[in-house]
């Protein structure tokens, strides 16, 4: 039966464990996987620009021995002529074996998955879901810490609009004894529905704070996101708050020695470049892991053994 990945919760915890195990095996034995998707084609349908996600999918398919076709902006597709997402998905099903779709409209990859005869992977739909980023994050945590259960994970920055944050919180809420610390300015707190329908509903231990420095010593993972100027109602508040959520070597002084610092990237200035050489900086490794977990996912959805 055709399987798609639209929301991270489409995958059971056991399936996520299986993907992490496959990704780990790919990292250990890349040659074993070099021909797994020979003769298969991935269509990357990117209706809005992306650097990391699209290149990561393409690199993943090439490293599996497969091929890639597609477009990287809506203007170069029939969407510019008014073609519906469903029709595009049906058409592409005739050419490719699997689709990775990014679309500015929320729910577009879901619509595509219902129309397509081949698996569809949601590569980001507006501010809604981005499940392969969450898989990337889970693989990173698992590799860097050796486990996911029992960790204290801090999220810092814009927790209101960050889709990667909401998805990862949802995925982490299925693990045992995970503690979540939500660090943000009041204006950018996690939406009420994430607190009620995810954290409280699953009985997750969590706290909310505005103070990054105070929260840091207890964290095993620090997931940074960007505080964007346009999210604030007035310039004064932005200027007052922006530096509080910039990670600097000074702020890291009291952090654990084995802290793992993550960021979905792109970064602007929220992590000082001086931290890049700190062994606790994991954000570029995270990018690399993203490719491996996408390789594992493509294989799973194509049912390649």
């Amino acid at each position: 039966m055709k399987r798609s990945l639209i929301d991270i919760l489409d995958l059971s915890p056991a399936e996520i464990d299986e993907l992490i195990a496959t990704a780990n095996d790919i990292i250990a034995n890349p040659a074993k996987y070099a021909e797994k998707c020979r003769g298969k084609k991935l269509a990357t349908l990117f209706f809005e620009p992306s650097t990391r996600t699209r290149l990561s999918f393409e690199a993943a398919m090439y490293e599996l021995g497969g091929n890639v076709l597609g477009f990287s902006e809506a203007q170069s597709s029939s969407a510019a002529k008014g073609e519906s997402v469903s029709d595009t998905a049906k058409t592409v099903s005739c050419y490719a074996d699997i689709i990775a779709m990014r679309h500015p409209k929320e729910g577009a990859p879901f619509v595509a998955s219902r129309a397509a005869s081949i698996p569809v992977i949601n590569a980001g739909d507006g501010g809604h879901n981005h499940p392969t980023q969450t898989l990337t994050d889970l693989l990173t945590i698992s590799r860097e810490k050796g486990r996911i259960d029992g960790l204290t994970v801090g999220f810092c920055g814009d927790l209101k609009f960050g889709r990667t944050v909401h998805s990862l919180i949802g995925a982490l809420s299925r693990y045992k004894n995970v503690k979540i610390v939500l660090i943000s300015p009041t204006e950018l707190k996690v939406p009420e529905y994430v607190l009620q329908e995810v954290l409280e509903k699953n009985g997750i231990d969590f706290e909310q704070t505005t103070d990054l420095q105070k929260a840091l010593p207890n964290l095993d993972i620090l997931y940074m996101t960007r505080v964007q100027r346009e999210r604030f109602f007035n310039e004064e508040d932005y200027l007052r708050l922006k530096d509080s959520y910039i990670l600097t070597p000074a702020k890291l002084k009291n952090a654990k020695q084995d802290l793992c610092i993550m960021h979905p990237l792109p970064r602007v200035n929220e992590i000082s470049v001086e931290i890049d050489d700190d062994p606790r900086a994991c954000y570029f490794k995270q990018v690399l892991y993203g490719k491996y977990v996408r390789m594992a996912l493509i294989m799973k959805l194509l049912e390649v053994e």
Partner: protein
């Protein structure tokens, strides 16, 4: 005020006062060619005021819609002038083309042929979310 009783048909009773017209429109009763009566602000011991709709024909009513709009409603089935069945309504699991998603970033905002589908995600708090973008439904 006198409204003739019906022989075969439905009486949608205990409608919250003011919601009668909304239900009339949602059920598409305007398209029927039988007698349909909307009684507004009828006095009720239980509710103070209520609306009632009487339909003088045996038609299939989408009870799911009624459960969403007004869960206190009862549907009385009348045959040969007698009440033969009293149906209570509950919240439906899915609503199709009953409400529209108001999220401007939702795919339904640009693709007109898509049905507006909402799923019940929290029965206790009567929360429905868009099938596509998961935005909470607002009345």
């Amino acid at each position: 005020m006198h409204i003739d009783s019906i022989r075969n048909g439905l009486v949608i009773d205990h409608i919250s006062a003011g919601k009668g017209m909304k239900i009339y429109e949602l059920l598409g009763l305007g398209a029927l060619d039988c007698t349909v009566a909307i009684i507004k602000n009828s006095s009720s011991r239980k509710m103070g005021k209520k609306d009632i709709i009487k339909i003088d024909a045996e038609i299939d009513v989408d009870i799911d819609i009624l459960g969403y709009v007004d869960p206190g409603i009862t549907v009385n089935v009348i045959k040969n002038g007698e009440l033969v069945e009293k149906k209570a309504v509950t919240l439906p699991e899915t609503l199709t083309n009953v409400i529209q998603c108001k999220n401007p970033r939702c795919i339904t905002s640009t693709e007109q042929e898509l049905k507006h589908v909402f799923k019940l995600t929290d029965r206790e708090n009567r929360v429905y979310r868009c099938l596509y973008c998961e935005t909470k439904a607002t009345e």
